[in-house]
Symmetry: C2
Subunit: 279 residues, 2 copies
């Protein structure tokens, strides 16, 4: 019963881990947060790729059966490289599932009927610069207008655990300027960074009521579940009785106490026994 | 004519480099910004020490005659370790010079006459946690009340080049809550992070007029100048005519274009030909 490996620059990927654990209750997981080098989103593609390879290598050494890149920045720049490096271990990123969620949340229509009403992607600087989300969404629906906004401060705020805070509201208002009025708002707001779901409520308070706010966590869990079923690697199919109790291990490259303390905000449940590792 | 080596987690140390270059116009400098791993201030002491050793090693390999730790976080946790590792090359940090500047800016007095009116240190989480500033200031003036406030978002804002911004004003107001009214304000506000001098004007707008805002840049330059004179290593003393033209080399571990673009805000002059290095 091999675990599923999940990694992120820090704690944001715990929002994806929570969705995975809920969808796949029989699976074990190893989660790695590269907190010693976060954030990834303000760094160059070459540096992010290098860090992602090292994180995935650590999970690979821990004999995981599948690797989830629970970080939009790393998914956007390093997915192909990681697939090539760790084949035949499957590697699943969050960009395609996020694009699928955003596209599914939009009404069908054409440029004329939709006007500006498409998808607004909030993401890190690096993800926006690479344009991976716009390509992935428009590959599904070429007519959907896609706007992107880099929100670099949100990762720092989230990793600090500052979520319900007047500063957060002001910063969100600043990032959403030009998208808040009824005729300028998108149909769908895509949280294109795994740190951003903690700001969902604050965003919903700011946006017109008809805007759908989506993230990649549950669609990513769906893609992983489907892959395990198709490849007959699902632990739910194991014949053994009694089944081994599934476990979740937490690894971080720095600040394990802080990880346990703040991680709860992202994971939605206690995070304990965080192990310090060096990449 | 060996250069002086200066390093920081990113661009903040350029405020110290500017003061050094102004005070020591005959010296050459090599500046290293560890932008691939910034910020340092939210990370553990062990991780910051490891990064600081690697950065100083790179400068040492470049044959510098003296190393300046232009980062409060690294100065606070790694100064002794760096001195031991690179002796006899002198290593100078910014905490003692910053404490000297803060202490000098305060009126003499005792607990009774001063009340709360001491020094407020704004710094990173790690610097505040370690308490190095409070110890260094009170070693000079045991009666001076010292308060510390961790301002983790300011590094992210500064490295983004967001300086004149309504978000900055709100965040500063939040960090200074409890210190803004005339009877609660400090005598001296010490910018205990080399990133923070870019917010000097915004801070001065918020604080009562009689609060002195000081940083460690010019006092650090003074300490370096004095050390060079005493050890007869000053390039100004070189007999050669014509004197070789002093140079400034910029190295960064990531994002060299961004470093050149945003670095100007910190350095106060153009930053060009930034070289990418790997630690």
């Amino acid at each position: 019963m091999q675990p599923i490996g999940v990694f992120d620059s820090g704690m944001g990927g715990l929002t994806v881990l929570a969705a995975l654990a809920e969808r796949l209750p029989d699976e074990s997981f190893v989660y790695l947060g590269d907190t010693a080098r976060l954030p990834y989103g303000s760094k160059s593609a070459a540096t992010v790729s290098r860090y992602a390879i090292q994180a995935a290598q650590h999970l690979h050494n821990a004999q995981v059966k599948l690797i989830v890149i629970a970080c939009n920045t790393a998914s956007a720049v390093a997915l192909d490289e990681l697939r090539a490096a760790f084949a035949p271990t499957p590697v699943i990123g969050v960009v395609q599932p996020g694009a699928a969620a955003a596209s599914a949340a939009c009404k069908p229509g054409n440029a004329r009927s939709l006007g500006r009403r498409g998808v607004l992607v909030l993401a890190t600087e690096s993800t926006v610069r690479g344009g991976a989300y716009a390509r992935a969404i428009q590959a599904r629906n070429a007519r959907l207008p896609v706007y992107s906004r880099a929100c670099p401060l949100l990762v720092a705020l989230a990793e600090e655990g500052r979520v319900d805070d007047p500063v957060v509201a002001l910063i969100l208002q600043d990032y959403l300027a030009g998208y808040l009025s009824a005729d300028q708002s998108p149909q769908t707001l895509l949280l294109g960074c795994t740190h951003f779901p903690v700001f969902r409520r604050a965003l919903e308070r700011l946006l017109p009521q008809d805007v759908a706010v989506v993230d990649s966590a549950s669609t990513t869990a769906g893609v992983v579940a489907e892959h395990l079923e198709q490849s007959q690697q699902s632990s739910a199919d194991l014949g053994a009785t009694p089944k081994p109790k599934p476990t979740i291990r937490f690894l971080a490259t720095d600040g394990v106490e802080r990880f346990a303390r703040v991680g709860r905000t992202f994971f939605g449940a206690p995070v304990s026994d965080v192990e310090l590792v060096d990449l």
